[in-house]
Point group: C2
Chain length 166, copies 2
DNA sequence: TGTTCATATTTAGATATTCTAACTATTAGC
DNA sequence: GCTAATAGTTAGAATATCTAAATATGAACA
């Protein structure tokens, strides 16, 4: 296997993706919430309310970590916990109105900052980036784990611009 | 301004980049060092030895944070601090042989894992991703800050596959 | 029905990360 | 040599993260 150049592409592309991601975050650090908190807010904005375990899985942390971060966000009034009537062991975590406002603002600032850089590329370069987006969405769908599947906003909506991510 | 579609592209592309980045990290969490530590190791692998302040700038954290993380990595034997003879206030931070081995291993695992996903795309999709890489490299160069410029490995080497990033 | 195992989450305790403010040491300008 | 700027560390506090253990609910079944 691997006569298709995937390994070579991975070695070139993965570092680039990492650096662009880091650059975006460095240029728009965000205000008064920590990195972990803003990541949770963005995940909830993007995927809608999640159970505690789903949130932990998406964030790539253990459940006690999710519990801890959510507890602080609740104290800040940015998210709320509601019991799941179907399964009373479970907890649904969702944004409050104030949480939505705050994370929308950060997301908009990051989009604007990134757009400024994109505007300095040539139209051809922007076209190439645009053309690569469906392949990226396909990559994401390949990773889809039934355990942390998106609910209302499924992966295809990532291309609609309706979702905002950290 | 912004009649070139940069804002719309940003709104679509930035979330995708974020999700691909998070997916890669979630699929290869790394062993015994923390996220902050592996990020520093990868930065040093990619950019070569850095001064403490440069390292903090690249990582997007304050200097005391860099000091703290480096101190732990020194204790683990993965990085070393050397005095700069030119400027005796400054400290150079670089990988030890053992540090290089460890971060090479993690980088290779992430590359292989990502390559497995890429291998499930069509050849056309891989071609589109490949074609978008120069534009990404250009984006990175636009962000170049003289304060945190790469030394031996400049940004163009990101396309050579010689560097490995978190 | 009640016992037992599995699942979802929290609590407890430890280590790591991160910040701001204040401190030390060195360099640069005059 | 003063004085100010620069590079880094130390101190102290809040947050984030982990593993192990506890709690509570759900599911299976004799």
């Amino acid at each position: 296997m691997n006569t298709d150049g995937s390994m070579e592409l991975s070695r070139q592309l993965r570092p680039l993706l990492t650096r662009v991601y880091q650059m975006v975050r460095r240029r728009s650090p965000g205000w008064d919430v920590t990195a972990a908190q803003s990541s949770v807010l963005t995940t909830l904005l993007d995927r809608g309310p999640l159970r505690m375990g789903e949130l932990a899985a998406v964030e790539g942390v253990r459940m006690p970590t999710a519990t801890s971060v959510v507890a602080r966000l609740v104290k800040l009034g940015l998210v709320e916990r509601t019991a799941d009537p179907q399964d009373r062991r479970a907890v649904q975590v969702g944004l409050t109105a104030q949480g939505r406002i705050q994370i929308d603002a950060l997301s908009a600032e990051r989009n604007a900052n990134f757009a400024e850089l994109l505007g300095r590329l040539s139209a051809e370069e922007r076209g190439l980036l645009q053309a690569a987006m469906p392949a990226m969405a396909h990559l994401l769908s390949l990773d889809a784990d039934p355990n942390l599947a998106a609910s209302e906003n499924d992966l295809s909506t990532a291309l609609e611009g309706a979702s905002n991510h950290e």
